[in-house]
């Protein structure tokens, strides 16, 4: 054992190694969390001084239709991206695992690249894809004779959330694909071979061998995807700013808007605390449903 044999006492080592980093960490995460909780209990509209308001803000929050419709948008996005990112990622990883695929590494490298694009560039790029007058999507639709389907995608309240989901799927499916490729790669060859000898090929092999053996990776992917969507902020801010109207509003953007545009900082913090509670609940529920024990190892 290394410990105990050093000349310096343990307390001093803790102070040197752990304390500086953790103090900075506390300043940047723990303090704002406490600040959020404190001001969420205060009435603080505009420039007047904050006033203690008890749980009244939270009562407002529960009755706030926009909060729930924002949450609904988050959940819709979560559903789409779960299907799109995790689902497509899984299917592609499966196809790529086949022996008959050529240039696997090249495909993997290309499909992963969108992950590295910044939100702002991604959003700008897709704004150009969706643009009504000269957007790529409409140009293509008109060229193939589907001009009737051309749309002002980001200004149509009925389609805007779906339109927002597509760039998110495009950016991240390669990421989940790589995770699943890793998981499929860890299945021992012997298992695969003996399964094939027993006549399990194609879908049979997928359902009885590959999917159960990669279940843990699927759970991790679902949780990652969910927590990513609950944090969703910048893509929506840049592409639609929650509009048209509030039809594509998401939770974090709502908190931001109430605080910075409506300058209602007390209530903005109430929303922030609400988001933390809702996301933690969803994450724990997902973990519980999917089998938390397995994930926690």
């Amino acid at each position: 054992m290394v410990e105990g044999t050093r000349k310096k006492p343990l307390g001093k080592l803790v102070a040197i190694f752990i304390l500086p980093g953790m103090l900075v960490f506390g300043f940047s995460i723990v303090v704002p969390t406490l600040v959020a909780v404190w001001y969420s209990l205060n009435k603080w509209p505009s420039i007047i001084t904050p006033q203690w308001n008890g749980i009244a803000n939270f009562v407002d929050l529960v009755n706030d239709k926009l909060f729930w419709s924002s949450l609904w948008n988050n959940l819709k996005l979560a559903l789409y991206t779960l299907i799109g990112q995790v689902g497509i990622g899984y299917v592609l990883a499966f196809i790529l695992a086949s022996r008959l695929v050529t240039s696997r590494d090249f495909l993997r490298t290309v499909m992963f690249f969108p992950v590295l694009i910044s939100t702002v560039v991604l959003s700008f790029l897709w704004t150009l894809v969706y643009s009504n007058d000269y957007g790529m999507l409409n140009v293509v639709l008109r060229a193939v004779g589907l001009g009737g389907a051309a749309n002002a995608w980001l200004s149509d309240p009925h389609i805007v959330v779906e339109a927002l989901a597509v760039p998110l799927i495009w950016q991240w499916f390669g990421f989940y694909m790589v995770i699943f490729m890793g998981a499929l790669g860890t299945i021992p060859k012997e298992i695969m071979e003996s399964a094939e000898l027993d006549g399990a090929v194609g879908f049979k092999k997928a359902f009885f061998i590959s999917i159960p053996l990669t279940y843990d990776a699927v759970v991790v992917a679902v949780l990652l995807c969910l927590s990513g969507i609950m944090k969703m902020f910048d893509t929506v801010l840049v592409m639609t700013d929650g509009g048209p109207g509030n039809s594509s509003m998401v939770l974090a953007l709502y908190a931001y808007r109430v605080s910075f545009r409506n300058i209602n900082i007390g209530y903005g913090n109430t929303i922030a605390v609400g988001i933390v509670i809702v996301s933690l609940t969803i994450t724990f529920l997902a973990r519980f449903i999917l089998g938390g024990k397995r994930y926690a190892r």
Partner: protein, 277 residues
Amino acid sequence: MRDRKAVVGPVLGNIALFAVAVTCIYPLVWLAYSSLKTENEFVRSMFSLPTSLQWSNYYLALIKSKILFFFLNTVFNGVTTVAVIVFFTFCIGYFLARYNFKGKALVYSLLTLGLVVPVHSLLVPMYIQYKLLGMVDHRGVLILPYLGVMLPLAVFLIDAYITTLPRELEQAAEIEGATLFHTLTRIIVPLSGPILITAIIIVFNFAWNEFPFSLVLNASERVRNIAVGIMNFASDWDTKWTLRIAACVISLFPVTILYVFFNRQIIRGMTEGSVKG
């Protein structure tokens, strides 16, 4: 019959995969050549190639729209963040992996809190906190929220990695009379090379692309990063699509170059980072 079937399937599969790959890469190729068109050409037809290369778009974006300046700000943020975070995470990760001490559980639970709290919901309280302390719009303050976001992930990675290293090397070094500092810098750091590279990649990529914290804490022109710069492009100087596209290409440039050379490390680093975290 059977033979033909056996050929058609894989061929179709490969074609489908390549089609997906093209959709991943074409938008970027499109950004690259569109940035060299004149504004008229661009508005007339989105897909056409430029008839003559307008390199002046880059000059205008870099200098007139100050993207060069924002680029350098982002480099500053990235480099300082990487240096500070990797130093802190190495210290904490090593110590958590090798020592038992009072408060270890507290450290773990604080770090876990950092992982589960949706950080962007903390933008508002963070702004209040930084405003009260007079830290808004100062160069370098972004290190703090970046550290808050990245520290837990990086610490868990390094902790897990160092736990797998054999203790015998450190014990031998100690018996030889090496100080803790020497053991760390001569033995542990070199052995932790791969995981440190992973941490550097994750943190740098995050800092390079980061947008919300910069928007709230570092929006003024003097300290603005490239993401906020592109976001505010229209209001800054002139609404020209091609210039803005050029700015996007500039911001993608460093990441793309790094990716060409280090794509294996980057892919491994980014997936490993989030799965283990």
